[in-house]
Symmetry: C2
Subunit: 235 residues, 2 copies
DNA sequence: GAAAATATGTACTAGTTCGAACATTTTTGA
DNA sequence: TCAAAAATGTTCGAACTAGTACATATTTTC
């Protein structure tokens, strides 16, 4: 700025324009921008992300980002919606209608754990959205409906378990969902500090397998056990 | 800048200096700055926080912040260390030596849940530190040792439970710690998006009580159940 | 009671970043 | 085929922000 500006520059934006073979591909450009933006927002949070860094990653110019998304905030919302849509679509495919409801839950645990493990970018997005008190998510409105189905499906699964006397404890689907999400989410979201503190690699294949097993046992254990005597004694 | 700068200002920093009664109180100033910084860093993350906003909150000038902490990064590390120190001190007071190890675990669950619930600022700090891949935490070095004791104490508690045949399942202390921390942490860290999605108030007294109970049951259930037959069949 | 050390206030600089203005090229449709 | 529309590249400016320079005030120490 100090050397280049204010000297003799007066709309000479033309001279260095390289005429080169270029193919217009707006859909691809849009998708590229979304992908790069997701990566950057996840990595650095909303405030920490610069539009320029996204542009650089797409190997397209900043101009394109404003052309397609108008502002940083709108781009961020688009990224969020995109990410949520992906997990819901994937989740809908999980089989929760097994004869043995324990197997249904195992399917769900498998999916939930693996999805989070394999999509740290998704996790980080939600983390950073929570840091701004879900400001942008609330604006987005359509998210609530997307989540209703999973609660219903868990509910059916639990009912079958009670009916077959495989599950002894009464819990709401919401509680199961919260426990499962929480465990799978935390395993990814807090990796960095956990690794720093305990000096353990949480991303190895062995760690992955072990932790998934623990979560499965935790969820099933919650449904299998009756601590009523003890807990009411003490609480 | 456009109006005020470059006109006739040449080191006239004196004219408006208000001479007023002032009491030097460096310790208080330092503490004030730390507190305001913790709040801001937690609320907006590292990148989103401006030194000016911290200065404003303390009702002291930016100058003081640099005087005591030298740089934004060093201030951030000080905030982190301060926060970790607080939770460790509190945790050390939890009684894990009960005759009934279930009661010991209940004490631990109580503490862990309440601490997170009552200190959302602490939670957010760790969240944002995870977003930067624990860069600053790793630099801080002393954190690892702070965490060793809790694992040992859980270990003793579990051994007693096995010995008394109250716990049937073998788990490592690390796994219990991770599950417990994860559940307590998530309940606070992901409140915003969860509330937005499910339109539920997670901060009410009733929600608090209910969720704590669920977590207690989840932890105890994990230790009380034997799913070996089922799990090895399917995994 | 003055000099040194400590603490605080104000103005400014250098660098960064969002977004806009301007220039150009490719595609589409009549 | 050519004009309008869509897509893309480049430069600039206004605003913000970390950190510095300079001025001043209060406390401590000898």
């Amino acid at each position: 700025m100090a050397e280049s500006g204010a000297k003799s520059a007066k709309s000479q934006a033309t001279q260095k324009y390289q005429r080169q073979q270029r193919t217009n591909d707006p859909d691809q450009t849009r998708a590229d921008i979304l992908e790069a933006a997701e990566d950057q927002f996840a990595r650095r949070g909303y405030a920490g992300t610069t539009i320029d860094s996204i542009a650089q990653k797409t190997r397209r110019s900043k101009r394109m980002i404003y052309y397609y998304f108008n502002s940083k905030a709108k781009l961020y919302v688009a990224v969020l919606e995109n990410a949520y849509a992906r997990i819901r679509v994937a989740e809908a495919k999980v089989n929760l209608g097994e004869d043995d409801p324990r197997q249904s839950l195992k399917n769900l645990v498998d999916f939930c754990f693996d999805f989070h493990f394999d999509h740290p970018t998704y996790v980080k997005l939600i983390v950073s959205e929570n840091l701004n008190e879900a400001k942008y998510l609330t604006a987005s409105s359509l998210v609530g409906e997307l989540h209703r189905p999973i609660l219903q499906r868990i509910d059916q699964c639990l009912r079958l378990g009670y009916q077959k006397e495989l599950f002894h404890q009464v819990v709401t689907p919401m509680e199961i969902h919260m426990t499962l999400s929480g465990l799978c989410f935390f395993n990814v979201s807090n990796r960095a500090t956990f690794s720093a503190i305990f000096d353990a690699d949480m991303t190895s294949a062995a760690a992955r397998r072990a932790r998934k097993q623990q979560i499965l046992l935790t969820i099933l254990g919650r449904l299998n056990t009756t601590m009523d005597g003890f807990v009411s004694d003490f609480s």
